[in-house]
């Protein structure tokens, strides 16, 4: 299980997280919701080791992740599908997926891993020899999710996997997440598509201005007055968060 306690982080003089505390239990799907600039990506990047926190704790199965290099965090079974996918554009689908299994924990089982990913996303099997930059956005997102799965993670974190995708593809990606979770992988999901995220998450947290301002089960957040106004309102216009943006 993932425990984040009093996490503070930022870039240079800009602070992005002001003491965030949350947890993701084994086998759960947990959604982290919030407006642009709330610090959601920073939080995932801290867990993945790409951003070093100023203070606070990040524990994964009781072990402190803050001092580990990003590649060693992958070895502990924590994988991130980063914002914007960050695929290796010049390489083929299969090369991208195989690189996903680079960690020693996964390298030996990469053939079985490929089969699993191709079963989950059959369209990728057809296009395995295609350079990923020639794929559609939805297929690229499948490669991104598949590449993270190739590390055979126990915790899969995703940063805005539905961004820029047509509704049909969003549904396909989210269905895949449910299937991945059923197979025993804990899922920690950052999403701006709040209804979609809450429809599959067991629990959710609201992050605004670098602070947790709400939490609860998917259904209770769905019913929450603030959530409805801010994220699900009829005009779907985001109101400024109570604390204001810290950008």
């Amino acid at each position: 299980m993932l425990e984040i306690d009093g996490l503070q982080a930022g870039y240079g003089d800009v602070r992005a997280l002001f003491g965030v505390t949350l947890s993701v239990g084994a086998g759960e799907i947990v959604a982290l919701l919030g407006p642009n600039g709330a610090g959601k990506s920073t939080l995932l990047n801290c867990v993945a080791g790409l951003v070093r926190p100023r203070s606070g704790a990040i524990r994964w199965d009781g072990q402190d992740l803050r001092t580990l290099g990003a590649h060693l965090i992958v070895e502990r079974g924590v994988a991130l599908v980063p914002e914007g996918r960050r695929l290796f554009g010049g390489m083929t689908v299969q090369e991208n997926l195989e690189l996903g299994a680079f960690a020693s924990r996964a390298w030996g089982g990469r053939r079985a891993g490929l089969e699993r990913v191709y079963t989950l996303f059959p369209v990728l099997a057809e296009r395995r020899r295609t350079a990923v930059q020639a794929l559609s956005g939805g297929q690229q997102q499948m490669v991104a999710v598949g590449r993270a799965l190739m590390a055979s993670p126990r915790l899969l974190m995703l940063d805005e996997p539905s961004l820029g995708l047509a509704p049909r593809l969003v549904a396909a990606i989210l269905e895949a997440l449910v299937a991945i979770n059923r197979a025993g992988v804990t899922v920690f999901l950052v999403e701006q598509n709040v209804p979609a995220a809450l429809s599959l998450a067991h629990r959710g947290y609201l992050l605004e201005g670098g602070r947790i301002v709400g939490e609860g089960s998917g259904a209770s957040l769905m019913a929450d007055e603030h959530v409805r106004r801010a994220y699900l309102g009829p005009l779907a216009v985001r109101t400024p968060s109570p604390q204001g943006e810290h950008q």
Partner: protein
């Protein structure tokens, strides 16, 4: 006509070595975003390595590659641990500046070391087959130079194979494309940097050996070879080792053509013209992504 053809042929033959010299620079720059201006001095050291093996132990210069390449690999690893490993900790903009400072310092130091060890004289390696020539029509092809071109192509091909098939070769390519994404797949990018730098140095060592066999070596050839390699990297672009090799051939031919047309002194000008024109017209190079 046949004089021009002969000159173009010789240009093509040296162009293969330009390509090999550039491949190492391109690999290091593409992966680490570090411009190693001492690359030519590493070529020079490779040349003296072969020279020493021939002079002291009578090792055939082509056979000496078997020792020079692993020796250069090791030297590259040591230089990474001692110098360039610190540069890659900096941000990408600072990296170029820092690498230039370290590179120029290293170039001066290696030049001084070479003068100390081998004097400033020009050295070559005499062999029994050195004068052999293959005549095709009116053209005469120096066999040693033909062999260096062939070996350069073989080495580039081997590198390409290594980068596309070997687990760490793929990691090197991934790190060159996006180092953060590489970290997220579990690649230890410091190790990828180390391997890229060691491989780049090995290519420089091999190039130096071939240069010394076919031409000659002196402590001051470094800057000239860094410049040629840089021109080829700009001309060919990053990302394709075979493209870099072709870029070397193009530079060799262009130099020969301009020397034949405008006279010998113009040989060096054409490379700089290519450099400026490519940067202005097609900054990613002929084969770059």
């Amino acid at each position: 006509m046949s004089v021009l053809a002969q000159q173009l042929l010789l240009g093509l033959l040296i162009g293969g070595l330009y390509g090999l010299a550039a491949a190492g620079l391109s690999l290091v720059f593409g992966v680490m975003r570090v411009l190693n201006v001492a690359h030519g001095e590493l070529i020079m050291l490779g040349g003296y390595g072969a020279f020493w093996l021939a002079a002291l132990f009578g090792v055939d210069p082509f056979a000496s590659l078997v020792l020079v390449i692993p020796g250069s690999l090791l030297l590259g690893a040591l230089l990474y641990w001692g110098l360039f490993g610190f540069v890659v900790r900096a941000h990408e903009e600072t990296r170029i500046k820092n690498s230039l400072l370290i590179g120029f310092g290293l170039a001066l130091a290696l030049h001084a070391l070479a003068v100390r060890l081998w004097t400033a004289d020009e050295r070559s390696i005499p062999t029994s087959y050195g004068g052999a020539v293959l005549s095709v029509g009116e053209l005469s092809i120096p066999l040693v130079r033909l062999a260096t071109l062939t070996l350069a192509l073989v080495l580039i091909g081997a590198l390409q194979l290594l980068l596309s098939r070997w687990r760490w070769g793929k990691a090197i390519r991934a790190t060159a494309e996006d180092w953060q994404a590489a970290l997220l797949t579990g690649i230890d990018i410091r190790r990828a940097y180390l391997l890229a730098f060691a491989l780049g140095t090995a290519l420089a060592g091999a190039a130096g050996t071939l240069v010394t066999v076919a031409y000659s070596v002196s402590p001051s050839i470094g800057l000239e070879w860094t410049l040629k390699a840089l021109i080829v990297v700009v001309l060919a672009g990053l990302g394709s080792m075979l493209g870099t090799f072709v870029g070397g051939l193009v530079l060799g031919l262009a130099e020969a053509a301009s020397a034949a047309t405008f006279g010998g002194p113009y040989r060096e000008i054409v490379g700089l013209v290519i450099f400026v024109v490519v940067l202005a017209v097609r900054p990613r190079g002929l084969f770059g992504r």
